[in-house]
Structure formats: C-alpha cells, structure tokens
Symmetry: C2
Subunit: 304 residues, 2 copies
Amino acid sequence: MPELPEQVQIVEVGPRDGLQNEPENVTTAHKLAFIGHLAKAGLTQIEATSFVHPKAVPQLADAMDVISGLPDASDVIFSALVPNQKGLERAIESGVRRIAVFTAASETFTQKNINMTIEESFAVFQPVVESALREGISVRGYVSTAFVCPYEGEIPKEKVRDVSERLLTMGIDEVAISDTIGAAAPNDVLSTVGHVMERIPTEKIALHFHDTYGTALANVYAGLQLGIKTFDASAGGLGGCPYAPGASGNLATEDLIYFLDRMNIRSNVDLNTVVSAADGMAKVLDRSLSSRQWKRLRPASGCQ
Amino acid sequence: MPELPEQVQIVEVGPRDGLQNEPENVTTAHKLAFIGHLAKAGLTQIEATSFVHPKAVPQLADAMDVISGLPDASDVIFSALVPNQKGLERAIESGVRRIAVFTAASETFTQKNINMTIEESFAVFQPVVESALREGISVRGYVSTAFVCPYEGEIPKEKVRDVSERLLTMGIDEVAISDTIGAAAPNDVLSTVGHVMERIPTEKIALHFHDTYGTALANVYAGLQLGIKTFDASAGGLGGCPYAPGASGNLATEDLIYFLDRMNIRSNVDLNTVVSAADGMAKVLDRSLSSRQWKRLRPASGCQ
C-alpha cells in the first residue's frame, strides 16, 4: 500500500461555498462570528467570501464588510472568490491577500454557469490573475466538474490536465480539482488526478470533494494514496446541496477531521471546535446539518 | 496501487439488521414484499429474519411466517440470525437453509449485549453450529465491535483474528467482520483485516460497515484493496441508527452499488430496483431514509 502523507492542509470553504448556497438571512455579524470560530479551531486557510456580483449571489453581497471585519489572525490566510476585473477591484480595495478564480473542465457547464466558453473565461481572468499578482495577492484556481458534469457526463481527464496546467502557467499557485456533483469514486480520482500530476507538482494540487453519494472520504483516501496533501471542506457540510434538502453536498470539515484523526494524519484543526462553529451557523440558519459529527452531538431519545 | 476484484458479492441485511432496529409496525406481508423486491433487484444473499427471542426483538417475532412466505427463488440464499439452540430449532422447523451466529471481539460488549463472556458465547453456539451443519444448514458468523467498541474503545486486532479463526474451525464458512459503531477508517481495515487474513482465507471474509461517520465507502475501498469480495449492506440504509434519527447507521445497499458501478466492479444488483424496494419500506415506516441514492430520487424544489 502507498504511504500516506503525515500532515494535511484543510482549506475551509464554508463561509463562501457553504453560505453562497444557503438562504440570505445570514448577517455580516453572524458570518464573522462563524469565521472567527473557525479560525479558533485551527483552520489556517479560510475562504471568507466572494466578490461575485451581488445580483448573482446576494447571500454574499456584504463581501467588503466581511473582509474588513475579519479577525487579526496572522496565522490564517483569508481568501475570496473573484469572477472578473470588477470583482478584483473590490477585492484589492478590501485588503484581502488571496483570491480564487474559477473555471471548469466542461464547456457546457461553463456556458450555463457564467455564459462563456472555457477559453473566454481564461481571457477574462488571466488579466485578473496578473493584476492580483502585481498587487502581491496570491491566487488559487478552481477546476469545476473535473470528473462528471451534470450536462456532459464523463469529463476527459486530458481536459482537466490541460486546464490545470494553464492555470499554473499564469501564476496560480494551487489548483483545486473539484467534484462539483459528488459523482466521483476512487478510480476517477486516481485516473484524473494522475493525469493532472503529469503536468503539475503534487503540492500544487488540492482536492475538493462533495459527499453527495457518500464517496467523499473514499475519494480523499485515494487522493492521499497519490500523495495529495490539500483538501477542501465546508464546516457543517454547508452548501453544495445538489438535489434535496438534507442531502449532503460539500464534504463536512468535521467529518474530514474525524477521518484524518482516525488515520493518524495531522490536520492541526480541532474537531469539536469546528462542530461548535458549525452548530452556531446551524442555529442562525435554523436547520439541521448533514455532517455526521454534528449529528453525533445531538443524541436522540428514540434510538434503539 | 493494488488491483481490485472484478466482482463482489453483496450480502443484503436490511430485512434483519435493518428492520430489527426499526419500529414494530411492519407486517409480515410488508416484509415479504420488501424481500421479494430485493430478490428481484438481483440480490442473491438475503438475511431475511432472526430467530432471536421475540421478547428481545419483537420487530422480528414473525420469523417463522417470514421464512415460510419467502419467494421460490432458486438463485437466492435466504438466511436467518440464530442466537442459541432454541432459535436453531425454530430455524430448522422453518426450513431455512443458512443461519448466522454472532459474537464480538469485545468482552464488555458481549456482556452487555447477551450477558455472557465471549468464551461462554462460544460454548452456547458451538453445538448450534454443529447441529446446523448436520442438518445441511450452512453457517455464517458475525464478529461485532471488530474495530472500536462503544465501551472498551480500541479492540486488539489479535483478538479479532483469534475469534475469527475459531469461528472457522467450527465449520462456519464466512466471517463477517463488523464495524458495529461505524468508527473505523481505512487504516483500521488494513490492519485488522490484515491480521484476520493471516489465519483465514480471503474468500471466507466478509466486511460489514456502518456509515455513521461517513467512512463506510472508504472502508469498502480499503477492503477491496486487500482483495476482500464480500460486503454487507442494508437497503435504504435501514437500521443501525446509533445515536440520532436521520443519522446513518448501516451502509445503504444502493450507495454501495453506486460506488461499485462507478468503480466498474460487478455486483449483478440493479441500483434502481433496490432504491424502489427501499422506498416501499420507507413508505411503510413513514420516514425518510439516510441513503443518498434514495434522496437523489426525491428532487426538492428549494435547492439552489
């Protein structure tokens, strides 16, 4: 069996990927309490918000206020999603030190998501990346629908490899290979990520899994077997709900931590504190969470 | 990477392990409809009921009626759990051709579960196994709490190995290594099952995982990497609810099939038919199921 990494970096996307898929009633104060709590848990990379147009994602219209209200935590890198030059201007103004741009491996998904071809999306964000780097802002890139696309079905691994390579050549320091609909299984991970690894260094690859069909931790395991050390997760399993209330979307941070703790792989993040942070947000959203660790702390009377 | 098996045997435990943990309102007719539907899906090993004392498990008090009402399906092996000689007498009378006995790797769990030591439990069911074999009834053995015990914590792998070996020496043809509380992760599987494999042939090992913390499919993957080819699952993810309504317990058969299909590993079981069978039981129980494939077929209006 391959030897696994001894330590892993978790990138927390709950405040952005999570909350952008939740209802709009979360105040800036609540967001900042959530983020502060996550930082307290030991998370050192937190995607705090998005500078996408407020008309597109009204849930995160307060992006500027969120960034300016972030705790002073020198050991935490806060980032924000940026779709275009306008979003970057706001990001620069906010003082955020890291941004993320996004594209996909599927033409149809890109068309439906941002009304462009993949090539056009590169034309849009290449100058964004260059400006950001000139400002001393580091950049991550998402490759969505890297395994299966809800429209196109199976995505060619060469496409994922080529898109990832292009992102890196423009100065992006990390590519997040994303299973947007949670359809992948370990063989997909080995194959697709294996292709990506032909072109870009392992340490620049992050894996972003959804747990829609229960395969997220199996996929994390496959990624670990390849030597991947960076994994995205969302506290509480917030967001990414693809088809039904109560269904899981994003891999829950606390479920990932349970797995890593059990596997003796260091994450330096405290499980109980993450659950506590997620629970705070669950109360604000007034809903149950799909994460198992959160459920574990809710003992029921009716269970035999 | 290790090569994986091309084909897997699923042992369906929903009608027993599932229903014994559900409320008591399921009629014999409903159970038989469920079982018939599961057989139609292609499941060829189905644990149909239990001959445990009706006072202990009233949900399955109709065991005799269930066995006598089973469909004529020559390609399906139906089995029943049997705790002791009395249970075996009823099993023999019913005409069932395969039984399962159970013990645990944890003394405390065995004490609390059946009020005996592990050694005493062997003394009880060894004559049961011998009688069954004399009747031409084949026997499976469960080793519960094979990884983590809710009382004792970590379970020594040597204990699991020794208990498994003893089961085999008495004529049991398959040992189901069970993660009763769903706490295991892949390293546990590699280590514990690796120990068991020192003493008993791979083809006589089945793995029984719970998805309580989301690790079931990662554990299945680890088991496949070891060459294990038999996996237990429960349609709909019925039963095994360890701590909260809506929390997952048993690995759902349809979620396992999704994974195997995606991995190009043959199970010869149709996913949609299993979901349909589970859905029938969900309506009888008047509750939601934890299985993702069941949730997938329930599109919601409110999802972004």
